[in-house]
Amino acid sequence: MDLFDNLALGFITASTLWNLLFCLTGVLLGTLIGVLPGIGATATIAMLLPVTFQIGDPVSSLIMLAGIYYGAQYGGSTTAILINMPGESSSAVTAIDGYQMARNGRAGAALATAALGSFFAGTVATFLVALFAPPLTKIALQFGSAEYFSLMVVGLVSSIALAHGSVIKALAMVVLGLLLGLVGSDIFEGTPRFTLGIREFADGLNFVAVAVGVFGVAEILRNLENEHDRSVMIRKVTGLMPTREDFRRMTAPVLRGTGLGSVLGILPGGGAILASFASYTLEKRVAKNPEEFGKGAIEGVAGPESANNAAAQTSFIPMLTLGIPANPVMALMIGAMIIQGIVPGPDVAAERPALFWGLIASMWIGNLMLIVLNLPLIGLWVRLLTVPYQVLFPAIMAFSAIGVYSVKSSAWDLYSVAFFGFVGYLLAKLRCEPAPLLLGFVLGPLFEENLRRAMILSRGDPTIFVTRPISAILLLAAALVLIVVLLPSVRKKREEVFVEEDA
C-alpha cells in the first residue's frame, strides 16, 4: 500500500543518525527554552529558527524545527503544571488542574499524564496526517489563483476569530501584517516598494527579524514590566508513575481529547488553543465528578493536553498540503522553508517526497523522544525553573542577535529586530494580538500575487472569486466565520472564554 511505502520512506529519512541527532537536539533545545517561564512556543521557535539554518540540508533543518516545536510545547506544559505559568495560551488550561495536582503533591503524576496523553495523541495524529495529507494535496494541485486567494482569506479570517479581544483590532493587525509583507520589490515589475530607500530591504523585511522582534523581544519586555519572584514550591518531583486508578481515569479523556484536537487542529487560525479549551469543557461536562475540576482533576490535564498535542500535529496538514499556515508556529515553518529554497504547497509532496514524509515520520520520533527523555530529565527542568530571569534574558538577547545576523549577515536585520521589538511591545500594550500580524506578514506576498494573477486571468472581473465553485465555497466559509464572531451572543461567549483563560 502506498501509505506504508511512503511512511517507510519517511522513517528511513528521519532515522538516519544525523537526522535523529537533529531531532534530539531540537527536542532538547525546545524544552530547554520552552520551560523558561513566560516564553511560549512561538517565541522559542522564533529565537531558535536561525540556529536551524546553519544545517545545510533542509530536511534536517525542518526536522530539528519540528523537534523544537514539540519540545517547546512540552516545556510549556511543564511550567504550567509546576509553577502555574503557562508559556502558551494552549497550555493555560493545563495549568488549571495541573497546578492544583502539583500542590496536592501529585506533580509527578500530572507531568506523566501530560506526557503520556501527548504521546498517544501525537501518534494518532501523525497517522492522520500521513493518511489525509496526500489526498488533500491532490485536491490542492487543482487550485488556481482564485482558490488560493480565497483560501488565504479563510486562513486570515480564522486567525482573527481565534485572537483575543477586539475583532476589529485583530483585523487591523492582519492588514498591517499584509502591508509589512509587501515591503520589498514588486513581484511583477520589480520596483522597490516601501523600502525607504534602504537597499537591504529590497528583498523584503527579514522574516526572522520580524518574528524575533514581535514575539521574542516584545515578550521579554513584557516580562520585565513587573519583576517578581517566582515561587517554585516543587523542588523535587517524585512519584512519576501514575497509579492504576489514574490510568483508568485518564483513558477516556485522552481518547476524546485526541479526537477533538485532531479535527480542530486542521482549522486555520490556532486550533490548538481552541482544542484544549473545548476538551476541558467537554471533560467537565461528561465527568461524574465535575466539582473536582479546578481542584486537581487528572481528567482536566489528560484531555486538554492530548487535544492540544493532536491539534499541534494536524495543523501541519494545511501547511504541508497547501502552504497555508494554520497558526503562527506554522507561519514560522513556512518562513523557514522559503529561506531554505522550498516553496511550500502541494508540489512539496510530489517533488520532495523524502522531505515531506521525513517530516511526518520525525513528528512521531520527536514525540517518542520527548517521552523517553523528558520524564527522566524532569529533575533538570525543575532546576532550570529556579534560574533567575535576569540571567536568562541577556542570554536570549545575545543568541537572538547572533541568530538573526547569521541569516544573511545584514546589520539592518538587527535594527529591524529592535524596531519590531518596540512595535510588538507597543501593540501588545494596546491590546493587539501579534499572531494575526505574523500570519498576514507571511501571506502578504502570496496573497497579492494570487489576487493579481486571478484578476489578470479574469480580465479585471472580480466575480471570478465567486463564479469558481471551490473559491465561492471558501469565501462563503470565511464570511460565515466573520459573521459568527461578530454576532453579539457569540461575542459575549468568546469574551468569557478568553477572560477565563487570562485568569
Binding site: 546553519q54 476589529i168 483590532k169 483585523l171 487591523a172 492588514v175 498591517l176 499584509l178 502591508l179 509587501l182 514588486d186 511583477f188 515589475e189 520596483t191 516598494r193 516601501f194 523581544v217 521579554i220 519586555l221 520585565l224 514590566e225 513587573n226 519583576e227 530571569y389 535576569q390 540571567v391 534574558f393 541577556p394 542570554a395 538577547m397 545575545a398 537572538s400 542577535a401 547572533i402 545576523y405 547569521s406 549577515s409 546589520a411 539592518w412 536585520d413 538587527l414 535594527y415 529586530v417 529592535a418 521589538g421 518596540f422 511591545y425 507597543l426 501593540l427 500594550k429 494596546l430 491590546r431 493587539c432 489576487l451 493579481r452 484578476m455 489578470i456 480580465r459 479585471g460 472580480p462
Partner: protein, 156 residues
C-alpha cells in the same frame, strides 16, 4: 455624555493604525496604480492602506463610547536597555568583531533588569561571550571575524 472622553488605549491604537495607513497610502500613491485588470505595484497596498485607515477610524470611534482597561505598567527600563542591544551588535559586529561586540551587547541587555548588579552583569556577559564564541564561532563555524579591524592590536 462628555464629548471629550476617549479611552486612551483604544484611542492611541486607532490613531496609530490611521497614521500607518496614511504612511503606506502616501507611499503607494508614488507607485504605478494601474487598474483592476492589470494592477500596478501600488494598487493592492493602496487598497490595504484604505482598509487600515477605516479600521483605525472605527477603533477611535469605539474608543469614545467604551472605556477599556488602563495601559498599565510600561517597561521603560527594559526598553532603554533591551532595544539598543541588537542595534549595538549590528553597528559593531563588523568593526569590533564578534567577540567584543557580543560581550557589550550582552552587558547592555543585562542592565534591563532592576535586579542586575554590575558584578553579576559582567559575569553573565563574560560567560555568554565565551559560550557563544565556542558554540557559534568554533563549533558551528559561523563566518564571523572574532576580532575586527577597529582593534587591530588584538590578534585575529
Amino acid at each position: 455624555m462628555n464629548k471629550l472622553s476617549i479611552d486612551p488605549t483604544n484611542g492611541a491604537c486607532g490613531a496609530i493604525f490611521i497614521a500607518v495607513g496614511l504612511f503606506f497610502g502616501y507611499q503607494s500613491l508614488g507607485q504605478e496604480i494601474g487598474n483592476a485588470f492589470r494592477m500596478g505595484p501600488g494598487y493592492f497596498p493602496l487598497v490595504l492602506s484604505g482598509i487600515l485607515i477605516l479600521l483605525g477610524a472605527i477603533i477611535v470611534v469605539q474608543a469614545t463610547r467604551v472605556t477599556g482597561e488602563p495601559i498599565g505598567q510600561i517597561a521603560w527600563r527594559g526598553m532603554i536597555f533591551i532595544l539598543p542591544a541588537p542595534i549595538f551588535f549590528g553597528l559593531t559586529v563588523r568593526g569590533l568583531g564578534f567577540v567584543p561586540a557580543l560581550f557589550v551587547t550582552a552587558l547592555i541587555a543585562a542592565f534591563a533588569s532592576q535586579r542586575m548588579r554590575p558584578g553579576t552583569a559582567l559575569i553573565v556577559a563574560l560567560a555568554l561571550t565565551i559560550f557563544s564564541t565556542i558554540v557559534f564561532s568554533y563549533a558551528l563555524g559561523l563566518p564571523f571575524q572574532r576580532f575586527g579591524p577597529w582593534i587591530p592590536w588584538v590578534g585575529a
